[in-house]
Symmetry: C2
Subunit: 340 residues, 2 copies
């Protein structure tokens, strides 16, 4: 025994930390729910001030703020808390890039329940829930998605803007499949005045997207097609189809059937732009894309984080050509581009 720290050797700390990792999720969710980051950003920087501002106990906010400090989302000096640059930008509600709401979908009760039955999903090869084929309108869930996940779309929508911009200044029609919050298409329309977006999703979800279109000032260039990608009347002659976080929900034959429908909706030379977690062929890199296949295992019947080779095959089988993969610096997702 000694009071000094020995050189690191094999110990079970990482296993312990992993078995407690769920606490990181719930602590961040709680801090966002209690508006802790906004409160600290506004100057409530010790437990007494935070307790008053967050309508919580001093003991509770002290423990939560200390936890957030250990996780690197706050700094603590002489008993006073400060935001980090990361939390000021992404967790203070007053920041335009605030992403705090994402926890309401990424770690909602449904997702957590699905994961708590992961052994069953591994045995079965698909979600242990009975609502895993994602073809039915689970309104609560996808309205929740639409209300929570918009902020995550915005940086990638900037990249889509650049791709659509290359088509020039003539009128451009974009079909946004399973649009959810609608923020991919809406952001592109906001950036490019010659773009008209048609958003397809279940009616209750489209109500959220319509609100977002109104707020963004593009309601006059925003139409909707209520229904499912499986049977809605999509129309035709589009310049672009956006497939954002959509194809991962289904198996390859289903995707090929759906891609056939999207192909038919494009005009010749039109393009499908697919935003996805695309792991490398080794399926264990890059980390976030590779881990996403387990999210699909836990929550869908037969979805996956497909590799680019798999996307190439699916798109080719449906008639698309010139399939290419685009890495996007600083974002965990990639874009698969394919042409009619």
């Amino acid at each position: 025994m000694s009071s000094s720290t020995a050189a690191p050797k094999l110990n079970p700390e990482r296993i312990f930390t992993t078995l407690f990792a769920y606490q990181q999720t719930f602590a961040l969710k709680a801090a966002v729910e209690l508006d802790l980051f906004t409160a600290i950003g506004e100057g409530a920087n010790d437990p007494a001030l935070l307790a008053k501002r967050c309508q919580a106990s001093e003991r509770g906010v002290r423990m939560l703020a200390d936890y957030m400090t250990v996780q690197g989302f706050l700094r603590k000096e002489n008993g006073k808390y400060q935001l980090t640059q990361e939390s000021a930008v992404f967790l203070d509600r007053r920041s335009p890039a605030c992403m705090g709401s994402m926890g309401n979908f990424l770690a909602d009760d449904t997702n957590v329940a699905h994961f708590s039955r992961l052994s069953d999903a591994v045995r079965k090869g698909g979600t242990a829930s009975d609502a895993g084929d994602n073809s039915k309108p689970l309104n609560d869930r996808w309205v929740g998605f639409a209300k929570s996940m918009g902020p995550m779309a915005v940086p990638m929508a900037g990249v889509l803007t650049q791709m659509v911009k290359s088509s020039g200044e003539r009128p451009i029609r974009v079909l946004d499949i399973a649009a959810g919050h609608g923020m991919y298409g809406i952001t592109v329309a906001k950036n490019l005045p010659n773009v008209h977006v048609t958003a397809m999703d279940w009616p209750a979800v489209l109500e959220v997207a319509k609100e977002h279109a109104k707020t963004a000032g593009v309601a006059d260039r925003f139409s909707t097609v209520p229904g499912s990608a499986f049977d809605a009347n999509l129309g035709e002659g589009y310049d672009y189809v956006f497939l954002t976080n959509f194809l991962h929900h289904f198996d390859i034959p289903t995707n090929e059937m759906l891609l056939g429908r999207f192909y038919a909706a494009l005009k010749p030379g039109g393009k499908a732009l697919t935003v996805e977690f695309v792991p490398n062929e080794d399926r264990v890199s890059p980390p976030m894309a590779a881990c996403f296949s387990t999210v699909m295992l836990a929550t869908t019947d037969a979805g996956d984080a497909y590799t680019f080779a798999e996307y190439q095959k699916m798109f080719s089988a449906t008639g698309f050509k010139n399939c290419s993969l685009h890495d996007v610096p600083d974002l965990p997702q990639r874009i698969v581009e394919a042409e009619k």
Copy 2:
């Protein structure tokens, strides 16, 4: 857009990863439940072999094993999985140091449910559950603890052995409070033939400890006191009282009352050895000890990860002297020693 990776800049990846952190917990639990690590250790090194060995789907084990590879618990080369040194030692069921069972307590439904209501706990200043004072015999929970958490005790019990050994070769009597699995006292008794352990816990929990004592070959030097630390007849004249992961459940006045009972049970010169998560005075380091206060917030009415200054005060207030703190290299917990 480019195919190269830009220098890291501010992005929300860490927030996304934190909101998905619960998945790390459930994936590790599932891998242990399915005996994935043992299977790979035994040579089932691809999805087809693993599916057969783990009685699961090939698709499911592929996704889970890839996830475990990303998390660093496996290696994957040319489609074949291998254990890392860490998983071979701590996650292969055949290893004597296997800690896989810990997930059954650290991330059981009760703990996860407590954390899913962390906002309420922060508001209230204690667990949002109604069973938070830990004075009642929650048999299912603490029998589960006793069955799962023994492996974690063994390395620290080696350190306790060294401390007890310093008392020499005369008969030594150890009182192990809220013994649970009993592995602190049992390991010390196994290492030192002059040690007799009296384990106190609720009767259903003691049944687990008795089994462990039998397996360790020390049943003839292992007695039990069924009941609660609040009211059991503890006896007297002990050389040592072990307080392992016990005092964190209660507030300071309760601890002082309990310490008075343990003081009375010691002989003059006897020692209390407390194994605990003890954060530094800043309460945000070291990481695991500092985070533990949030576990107490979520799961108890008034427990905490106390600092050494707080322990010193509690022990002094009860009559103990020579209170000292011992860091233990490579283990996240510390030992507080105090003398009668």
